[in-house]
């Protein structure tokens, strides 16, 4: 059946040049030379013409594939996000979440290792906030689902998504402008429902995200912070919502941003 099992087949000398001619791999001088030779060897000319028709046929079969729209599952940017998300998943399954506690205490950083299965909601939310930040903060084109051109509209949409009335805090005093936001799926076993991610950017293109959810059933700590890969997360919760501020800026800036966000998010109109 296979033509490849025949006697040794060698392509050499003129034959090699004929293939190169059929495959359009020769320069003008080479082409002219081969054409002159073919004019005197009609049988070879027929063979070469056949190869060219084969080539044309093969291209007609497969060239159109390259013009087809590429399925979304083959988008490298999307694949990259999947890989990053999977790495985070693996990290969770490995179940060693190292947390640095003691936000605001000033003294005594406590390092604690918690297995994922017994991690409190706050730890799960911080991990989720860090993962979401690492996933989207580096995106150029699709960093947000809805842009921040209308903060009120964005806030209304996000509020609807998480089932709590929130605002998109104004962080311009710290030099950060609103980029926009997106709604993210709930983190398992937190009982908080979906999360709203709001993204900000400063003049040097550093990005900070707020990760906001409804308050968990068992609130746990009111404030806590964690970090991963040089990115810091500042978690804060009240009876109504949780908010995790994520970024890789110096501590004083992160602290100021967190204070400002918390003040604006916890403010309620008098009943």
């Amino acid at each position: 059946m296979s033509a490849g099992e025949s006697a040794p087949f060698s392509v050499s000398g003129m034959d090699e040049r004929l293939h190169a001619y059929a495959d359009r791999q020769l320069d003008a001088a080479g082409r002219a030379e081969v054409e002159a030779w073919l004019a005197e060897h009609p049988e070879a000319a027929v063979e070469v013409a056949r190869w060219r028709r084969q080539n044309d046929g093969i291209r007609a079969l497969f060239d159109p594939v390259a013009a087809e729209p590429v399925p979304e599952r083959l988008n490298p940017h999307r694949l990259q996000r999947g890989i990053v998300a999977q790495r985070w998943q693996n990290l969770r399954v490995a179940a060693a979440v190292v947390l640095v506690l003691g936000f605001g205490a000033g003294a005594g950083w406590i390092v604690r290792t918690a297995t994922w299965t017994e991690a409190p909601a706050s730890v799960r939310l911080i991990t989720g906030a860090l993962a979401a930040h690492n996933l989207y903060a580096h995106e150029k084109q699709h960093a947000v689902e809805m842009d921040g051109s209308s903060p009120a509209l964005l806030a209304a949409w996000l509020s609807h998504g998480i089932g709590r009335q929130i605002v998109a805090p104004d962080l311009s005093a710290q030099g950060f402008m609103l980029v926009g936001g997106r709604v993210l799926p709930p983190i398992a076993e937190t009982g908080t429902g979906p999360a709203a991610q709001i993204m900000y950017q400063n003049a040097t293109a550093s990005r900070v995200t707020l990760y906001i959810t409804a308050a968990p059933v068992s609130p746990g700590k009111a404030s806590e912070n964690g970090s991963a890969k040089g990115v810091e997360a500042y978690y804060w919760a009240d009876k109504n919502i949780t908010c995790t501020v994520v970024g890789d800026l110096p501590d004083p800036v992160m602290a100021a941003l967190t204070r400002s966000a918390v003040e604006q998010l916890s403010w309620r109109p008098a009943a």
Partner: protein, 169 residues
């Protein structure tokens, strides 16, 4: 990092085309390309920015294709020829459907190494040197595979009868 992903993205249509030619099946082809892209993204650190990304990607695709073939052989899977028909595209009308379908079936019957070589040169437009380095074989071996492939195609598409393919200029 964005540049790397953008460069990969630019190569996707050609990778799909090549994979389609290798497998003759669009789903299998896209599965291979997806594996290839994921591997490339995971192994990014191993890619030397000085080398051509295209050849690196094609090499990776070829390795995955060969592994897949070996796996199929081990499992004793034989695809009936009928199921392997390449789906000819709209542009095929220029050549006549029958002749192209025949050519597609003939390509399926080539030994994998001949099909790999022929498609890199003819469809991907690689120079002999580039194709040889992508396949990690000497140029002489590449030429011999091209020669065999063409002779086999001629046999498989009706020996001395002229295949009814017309070159449209």
């Amino acid at each position: 990092m964005a540049d790397f992903l953008d460069e990969i993205e630019a190569a996707v249509p050609a990778l799909r085309r090549y994979a389609r030619g290798l497998t003759g099946d669009s789903d299998r082809a896209d599965d291979l390309v997806q594996d290839c892209l994921e591997r490339a993204i995971r192994k990014r650190a191993l890619w030397q920015p000085t080398g051509p990304l295209r050849a690196w990607l094609f090499r990776m695709l070829l390795n995955l294709y060969r592994n897949e073939l070996r796996g199929r052989k081990r499992r004793g899977e034989h695809l009936p020829i009928d199921e392997m028909t390449v789906e000819p595209s709209v542009a095929a009308s220029q050549h006549g459907h029958i002749a192209l379908a025949e050519l597609a079936r003939a390509l399926e019957q080539l030994p994998a190494e001949q099909r790999e070589a022929l498609l890199l040169v003819v469809v991907e437009g690689m120079s002999y040197a580039e194709a040889a380095s992508t396949l990690e074989i000497p140029i002489g071996t590449l030429m011999s595979r091209l020669g065999r492939a063409r002779a086999a195609l001629r046999k498989l598409t009706g020996t001395n009868e002229e295949p009814r393919l017309r070159t449209v200029k």
